[in-house]
């Protein structure tokens, strides 16, 4: 966010969304094109397999893991310790910072290579490293771009999708001295050369973790560039930050989860590189880190787990499919949401992780069209969870009177699917500005737009037919 941009926090969503549409229309173009591509690749990849069965299976593996979460976390801890891994438990970001500070001090760390991790973004790890006098280097190309721009990620899979090729040309020209008319492969080569030096000199690699298999203590990571493999292989110490909801029972469960996550995220059969990390280098290995730490991070996840409705959001595998198909996300990209997790998944986990007060009005940043839930690989009922948070907002008296009345009516309708779809159809024929009032959160950006002509069929219908 630049210049006079609104603050980067969920509470500024309306202003930020309006600002984005008014001041940076090219963001909508970049985000729209990237998300449409991601989504069409996903649709093809789902069609190649019996994706309904895959998704039922994945929903149940994650559901099983969560409904036995304490047991699997304890088992994972035992397995990791047996493999020679240092295991840490962190309730808050500060706990994580303490673990990192200790590793930095013990090993005299000056440079850290990092692989893309939304958890690291959530925990503000880079700012912490800088406060310790350590240089954090983001090595995923998208993360590298936004680190150079000093911006947060705008998408959980493609952190720099809001930036065009021309933006990158100017940035790389200024920072790496490449010609302004460089082709993308020349820009990538320049980044590779700069980052290669950092890989070879860094003392510490910090990664996230897509999954943690409890029985073997395996941290599984998915990527396409090879930077995660390098981050976890070349420096002499590796720290993996893993959310407590990432644990799954068995090593074999990874077989389905790795494939489904890749299909949902980018339409690939599997990420081009998968790392299955058991622990530090052993006696018969020629290289690899001598020390591996796994930090099991709560940071609000138990609060989300305690919510009898919203806990289902913990099944999320962070594939980004719900962002790619969301008509609201596509308008603004992720920055307007003001936090690490944007789009539909951001709207349902932020109230749990940050607290409802800080997360408002994100649960309202949706038209409840339901397209997100149709694509979610772990079948999270996203609209139900959005309505749940809206109801809690109303019940706890946190919203304005006008919104309260609007949302009560809206939530009431949404609880009765027949009435809801009738009302939704009616809304499609309502003048846009009036619809903006009916859907309070949309009013912020509706005010900034000309009224579009109503579509004769709903977004959801169109999407189903693949015409979107």
């Amino acid at each position: 966010m630049t210049g006079s941009s609104p603050e980067y926090r969920p509470g500024a969503y309306r202003e930020a969304a309006a600002h984005s549409l008014r001041e940076t229309p090219m963001v909508r173009d970049s985000v729209g094109s990237a998300t449409r591509t991601f989504d069409s690749l996903r649709a093809h990849a789902y069609a190649d397999v019996e994706s309904d069965r895959w998704r039922d299976w994945a929903r149940d593996v994650k559901g099983h893991a969560l409904t036995h979460l304490d047991q699997y976390l304890e088992q994972a801890e035992r397995s990791l310790v047996r493999n020679g891994v240092h295991v840490h438990w962190a309730a808050t970001a500060e706990d994580v910072h303490r673990v990192i500070a200790k590793v930095v001090e013990t090993h005299g760390v000056r440079t850290v290579v990092k692989s893309k991790s939304m958890l690291s973004e959530e925990l503000d790890v880079n700012a912490h490293l800088e406060s310790l006098g350590v240089r954090p280097v983001e090595t995923d190309l998208g993360e590298y771009i936004i680190q150079l721009l000093d911006e947060p990620p705008s998408h959980i899979v493609g952190p720099a999708i809001h930036r065009s090729l021309d933006d990158c040309r100017v940035l790389f020209h200024e920072r790496l001295g490449t010609p302004l008319d460089s082709e993308p492969d020349e820009l990538a080569a320049a980044a590779r050369a700069a980052l290669r030096e950092d890989f070879l000199s860094a003392d510490l690699g910090i990664s996230g973790g897509n999954f943690l298999a409890a029985d073997t203590g395996t941290v599984a990571l998915i990527e396409n560039e090879g930077n995660i493999r390098l981050t976890t292989s070349v420096p002499r110490v590796h720290v993996a930050l893993v959310g407590i909801e990432k644990v799954v029972p068995r090593f074999e469960d990874l077989a389905g989860l790795l494939q489904l996550t890749a299909r949902a995220a980018t339409g690939q059969p599997i990420g081009l590189f998968v790392s299955l990390i058991q622990g530090p280098r052993t006696g018969d290995e020629v290289d690899g880190p001598e020390e591996v730490h796994v930090v099991l991070v709560d940071n609000g996840r138990t609060t989300l787990f305690e919510d009898d409705v919203a806990w289902e959001a913990l099944r999320c595998v962070r594939c980004g499919a719900c962002l790619n198909i969301c008509p609201v996300y596509r308008q603004t990209g992720g920055h307007a949401y003001g936090w690490t997790y944007s789009g539909p998944i951001g709207a349902i986990i932020s109230p749990g992780l940050l607290g409802l007060d800080r997360a408002l009005p994100l649960p309202h940043a949706s038209s409840l069209c339901g397209a997100c839930t149709d694509v979610c690989p772990v079948r999270i009922p996203i609209p139900e969870l959005l309505i749940h948070w809206r109801e809690r907002t109303v019940d706890e008296g946190r919203n304005s009177t006008a919104e309260r009345l609007g949302m009560k009516a809206y939530a009431g309708l949404a609880e009765r699917p027949g009435a809801f779809s009738a009302a939704a159809s009616a809304l499609r024929w309502t003048p846009w500005r009036a619809a903006g009032r009916a859907l309070p959160v949309l009013s912020g950006w509706v005010q900034e737009r000309d009224a579009p002509s109503p579509s004769p069929r709903s977004f959801r219908d169109l999407w189903r037919e693949g015409i979107e």
């Binding site: 190649d48 019996e50 090595t139 190309l141 998208g142 930077n227 292989s233 290995e285 020629v286 787990f305």
Partner: protein, 195 residues
């Protein structure tokens, strides 16, 4: 109470209100059409992702192919499991630890997977050699090609090294203006030699 116990206690309290979900069992890889035999399947998937596949009938043909292929390179890094004779086939072998100076690498796969077109790379063979050279040749014993990821993982679970990498094609990224580029961090060219 320490942090660990606090987290576990909070989870246990909430879990009492959750209806337990049963584990759904083994992932079946369900598909509408019957997959091809493993070797064909591997080749189709690996090449679709930009990898290259070479078939050789045995070690003599393999070494002939390597001699010709390696002729255009200067510095070779070699995995620990690669037959030592390959070091004499052309480029100067660099020392372990200097893999970043190699312009080509030869590694030995512990297996391959048809379902996803993946090579299974083991830490015991050397991780730097698998990742740092811009061009990587991977030797694969065709008897180790598994039909599915689930099969491969079941057979691997009793013998896990510190890290297993699945490599399913050359390194790629579309992060710069959504244009696909190859060879961003890992090898930009990967050739699986099936013997």
């Amino acid at each position: 109470m320490n942090t660990r116990d606090q987290i576990l206690t909070a989870i246990r309290a909430a879990r009492e209100r959750r209806t337990p979900v049963e584990h759904p069992g083994r992932f079946g890889g369900w598909r509408p059409v019957e997959p091809p035999p493993p070797l064909e399947g591997f080749e189709a998937m690996f090449t679709q992702a930009g990898g290259e596949v070479v078939h050789v009938s045995g070690t003599v043909e393999r070494d002939d192919w390597l001699r010709t292929f390696l002729a255009e390179f200067q510095h070779l890094s070699m995995g620990a499991g690669v037959p030592p004779g390959i070091a004499d086939l052309g480029p100067t072998r660099i020392n372990p630890g200097d893999e970043h100076a190699a312009d080509v690498g030869v590694s030995m796969a512990r297996g391959a997977i048809a379902e996803t077109g993946s090579l299974m790379m083991d830490a015991r063979d050397g991780r730097r050699a698998q990742l740092l050279p811009p061009v990587l040749v991977v030797l694969v014993d065709r008897s180790t090609v598994h039909a599915t990821v689930a099969d491969a993982f079941e057979s691997a679970r009793g013998d896990l090294s510190a890290a297993i990498g699945l490599h399913s094609g050359p390194s790629k990224s579309a992060d710069i203006g959504q244009v696909m580029v190859k060879g961003v961090h890992g090898p930009g060219r990967v050739i699986a030699v099936l013997a």
